[in-house]
Symmetry: C2
Subunit: 350 residues, 2 copies
């Protein structure tokens, strides 16, 4: 087991806090603010084009010389299955009618792309210090290429079995993603949400059994949460939801409103927005359809129709079809600067 | 927020450890061993007849003068619905055939009864120091009667909303039952398992918002877990699964075997065994049927047919139909005396 000071060696930071990469609700501004405060800021690259990734990295490097984390998805991109989409569009037909959407005009591509050699070409000149992957790891030659840069590799485990797998495949740190966490489950050895484990036992079991530093993620929102995670044996924590109200985040007004309301007390795992289970605040579409509905097409294609509905609904001022990503503890969300929040999270204890 | 020393006032014990009441797998022997070690032993009364409850209390009182906890269920007992059972028996028909069970010969009663004035009559002479309820609280006059004895009342909350409700109804302590916990969910304001929260955020949120001492339960299996729970603001912890291999527990040989095997890594919430969601090790019937199958009759009636199947299967040496209750952290299960385990859990820290 690492002792708690070892996060410095793993992350290169003053504080044992990683700001969780949150695709769609943040860019380099949040990354920079957290880095400058002594934490590890993250840049979510999963929904960015190659040029945008390079531009964001340049922005970060101009603003800070601290280490930061680049996050990529590394799912296997399936082909677009027309049949899947027919069933899905039938399910959504009443909503298409409500918002005047013609499903035949929807795209058949998604802008969520897995990490690739092309992306590696784009970021190689920067020799990134840290990259975190979600949904496992890239294929061996691509992973070896990144490791060859001296880049330290993190990835998420949602079960003890996934942690063992990641350790066997050479990661430098394991993000233990408790089922409390907001956004996409990093699960990659099973797609059965009943396998998902609470943070408390997940951290304890990985720390005891797997000889790789553990970063605790999910439901941590304040100093006591951070201290408790370190007590469980984590070397650091990763915090996402608590940053969503910070001015440096791009969280939409509707999302901010939901986070501040009582609605944030009820979150659920849903496949509806992307095809993979992700935790968000329960809204109209999650109430009206089965959150894990099998008709939702494979990740990332479910997002195509849902994005059309979301856009139409948001134009009418409702978040009924928006992915309101949020963990099971929104109580730490505060409208303060991300740097200040980072320092408060890392305060020495209650 | 209570400070951590206040558990003495709440529980009357030397150590901040409650041994979780586990109906069906323990009696007074485990209660006594934990009490004598300085923790709060519990006697699960939900599946005992009135005479047995009195006999067990007398056994405990002869063996120890320490305080102990009596646990009762307080669900509303529904009527037996013939139609529900027809659908259920149709679903189970292949299993009945496999084991030669005639469903028309099954009982129409369950031995799980809610707390009642009759039970109160039986235990009143003992003036119990502590009673914990599961599934909410008894109706107001019955609760008032028990409180009138000077008995301190605990009950389980699985959400912040349930914690607020319990506080408003006068409990002395709230057991924050994280979804990691083994056995029956104490949920009583909702039957939607998607509302269930991990221990980490559940404890933090209740501690911050509800002015009643909090006892953390679910996934706690060792000293670091206990210390982390106290760091989150809990006044004490409740531990169940870790005691299941102790010689003082009545855990069956098949259950012990499952706890010691890799199978214990995969648990799930299921309605199949009783009609209410409860966490156990995934076994054949949980794999073959939907764990939350809507055809399972209302609690406690689902247990009637499943007990018949379980008995038949166990006679053939398999736990395929047994409720293998277990939390998400079986790593703390050890074949040592319950008193020793209690002292180790409460050790001052790593």
């Amino acid at each position: 087991m690492m002792n708690q000071g070892d996060f410095r060696q793993l992350l290169g930071t003053d504080l044992p806090i990683i700001q969780a990469p949150m695709a769609g609700v943040q860019g380099s501004a949040l990354t920079i603010a957290v880095c400058e405060a002594g934490g590890l800021g993250s840049l979510p690259c999963a929904m960015l084009g190659m040029d945008d990734i390079v531009a964001e990295i340049n922005t970060i490097k101009r603003a800070t010389d601290r280490p930061f984390n680049l996050n990529f998805f590394c799912h296997k991109q399936p082909d677009y299955h027309k049949k899947q989409h027919q069933a899905w569009h039938t399910l959504l037909a009443p909503y298409f009618a409500e918002f005047g959407i013609n499903p035949h005009q929807l795209a058949t591509r998604s802008n969520r792309r897995p990490f690739s050699h092309d992306m590696a070409d784009a970021i190689e000149p920067f020799r990134p210090e840290i990259i975190s992957f979600h949904f496992g790891l890239p294929e061996p030659t691509l992973l070896a290429r990144v490791k060859g840069w001296g880049t330290r590799i993190l990835s998420s485990a949602t079960t003890l079995a996934e942690a063992r797998w990641l350790a066997a495949h050479g990661v430098d740190g394991i993000i233990a993603q408790g089922l409390e966490a907001g956004g996409h489950r990093g699960m990659f050895l099973s797609d059965d949400v009943s396998t998902q484990v609470g943070l408390f036992p997940l951290v304890r079991q990985i720390v005891e059994e797997v000889p790789v530093p553990v970063i605790a993620a999910g439901g941590i929102a304040d100093t006591r949460g951070v201290q408790a995670a370190l007590m469980l044996g984590a070397s650091a924590v990763q915090v996402g939801t608590a940053y969503l109200l910070c001015p440096e985040a791009n969280t939409s007004a509707l999302h901010r409103q939901a986070l501040k309301a009582e609605s944030a007390e009820l979150t659920a795992l849903t496949r509806l927005f992307s095809g993979r289970p992700a935790r968000g605040i329960v809204n109209r579409v999650m109430r009206e359809l089965d959150c894990l509905h099998p008709a939702a097409p494979d990740f990332p294609y479910a997002s195509i129709a849902m994005t059309a509905l979301r856009t139409a609904a948001e134009q009418q001022g409702t978040a009924d079809f928006s992915p309101l990503w949020c963990g099971q503890n929104a109580s730490g969300c505060r409208e303060i600067a991300a740097g200040e929040l980072t320092r408060q999270l890392a305060a020495a204890g209650p």
